[in-house]
Symmetry: C2
Subunit: 319 residues, 2 copies
């Protein structure tokens, strides 16, 4: 069985790298990626969509490979000048090359184009080879409930402030999706699930990437209505987060930081959960009732390993 | 007589350099500059005020001295990236350092601050040593009526498009000030004229800089009500424009490209015009009825020459 329509749910860096593997593993398939936009933020009047840009830059050859976000050969002149004016905030990594993307996006959004149309227009330059869809055209921003160190009272800060400024070091008590009640899946999302013959959950953050996508009203239902099998890839290898700070997020929802913990959090599709199959690393045996758990190498250390992982994930969709 | 309150009307580069002379010639005076904003333009969603920035950068030590506009040590990364996306327009000199200024200005304007308040906030970094006022807080944009080469019909294009993109090479039949009917002098402008003991017209473009300022309703009347003498400096030396393309603008209004022609265009204050005094170069004898015409070196070739010119202009306000 050769897959024709593949849908991937993804966040930023890890999801983007996984997508390169899927593209290589299924070069003839139509691949659609539904991307988390809960990290999106407006700074200095610019609308910034970190995960969308990471996916497009990574697949389009514009990414800074080492950093995993932003543009290769980046410079930081505008950021330094903004700081010289004393403009807040000064902790966000706003690169000069990247800024052109934000300017065009902001201008198009202000002119009334929906984010999905803006994303398609920007992707036209990068030719990522997959269809990139935001999870929603409506603004949904993840905020993190933390305890104010001054007053000891709960306070909600934007995810980017928590993640970038505080490096997720502030104790979080909850994640809230501001604006989610008015959100709908972006055009094409439900259609992609309905037409899919394989659906993959990338090894992205289960809480603030995959979890945020699934929080959009009707999106989870559209996903579960897919005729395809759904296979997820664990972001936990050897009991630890491969990249990012998911270990700061999982406990907030009472999820154990393990491949088994995340698998059980997603749950078996036969039992109201998401998963038909769950890919874990050889060193992470996991018991997830009702789910076809497969142990395969998960580290995307080079293109071959990444493609092999994607192939294993697609295999798991064959049942 | 030592001047205490000096007001200068100015456009961009020439006006800004002249202001350095005024500041040096009258270090104890309060100097207010009323700046043309008819060149202002919104590009890529950014509000750009070329003359205000040139004045502030020049007096604040941030200007590119050779170019006469924009920031010293400028880079053009964002501009190149915008072009790589195919974003229009690609002919405007949008520097990376400069862009931070535009971002802050745009954000403040969007938040509801008037341009005068934004200008003061930006000047706070640069400490220009003079009070910089836009001519108006309302948007007034100079458009140029040209003949469409395709259809031969008249067409209005933004001044920046005519000036920067076409290098003023398209034949112009008129300049129009879009938005001028709703404009008022910015806060502080009328008060500055009323308190002035010297008013100077910088050697800026008489049509699209000084002329645009004077086109703001009530501004000309406020100027003429000043108790101070008004002295102008010719932008024409040796029968030619020192800098810029005023020779492309003057004929549109039927003004002769000469020191005498511009002096007569401004006219004698005693006769409903602007001038008490008119400074022309030694090689430009000028007969302007009712005006105290003085021949002094006009070239601002170095700080000393510029200060001497400013001193001569202030002298002419002593009567």
């Amino acid at each position: 069985m050769r897959f024709v329509q593949i849908v991937v749910l993804a966040g930023g860096t890890g999801g983007a790298r996984f997508l390169r593997g899927v593209r290589a593993a299924a070069p003839d398939a139509e691949i659609t990626v539904v991307v988390n936009t809960g990290d999106d933020v407006t700074l200095h009047g610019l609308r910034i969509c970190p995960d969308l840009d990471t996916v497009v830059y990574t697949l389009g050859g514009g990414i800074d490979e080492e950093r995993g976000w932003g543009r290769a050969g980046e410079s930081w002149t505008v950021k330094e000048e903004l700081a010289a004016y004393g403009a807040d905030p000064d902790w966000f990594g706003l690169g000069d090359r990247d800024l052109a993307t934000h300017l065009i996006r902001t201008r198009m959004l202000d002119a009334g184009y929906p984010l999905s149309a803006v994303t398609a227009a920007l992707a036209d330059r990068w030719q990522p080879g997959v269809t990139v869809l935001p999870m929603s055209d409506q603004r949904v921003e993840t905020h993190v409930v933390v305890s104010d160190p001054e007053t000891d009272r709960p306070r909600a800060i934007h995810f980017q402030e928590w993640w970038v400024r505080h490096r997720a070091a502030l104790e979080a008590s909850a994640f809230v999706q501001v604006g989610v009640d008015a959100a709908r899946p972006a055009p094409g999302v439900a259609e992609a699930f309905a037409a899919a013959d394989a659906v993959l959950l990338a090894p992205s953050n289960p809480v603030v990437s995959i979890g945020t996508i699934l929080g959009v009203p009707d999106l989870r239902e559209a996903l579960l209505a897919t005729p395809a099998r759904i296979a997820g890839v664990s972001p936990i290898v050897g009991g630890a987060v491969v990249r990012g700070m998911a270990d700061r997020c999982l406990p907030v929802l009472g999820i154990e930081v393990s491949a088994e913990g995340v698998g059980r959090h997603y749950g078996a599709r036969s039992d109201g959960g998401l998963l038909d199959a769950w890919l874990v690393a050889p060193e992470d045996p996991a018991d997830v009732p009702g789910v076809d758990v497969r142990q395969v190498p998960l580290l995307m250390s080079d293109p071959e390993a990444t493609t092999a992982l994607a192939r294993a994930a697609l295999d798991a969709c064959r049942g």
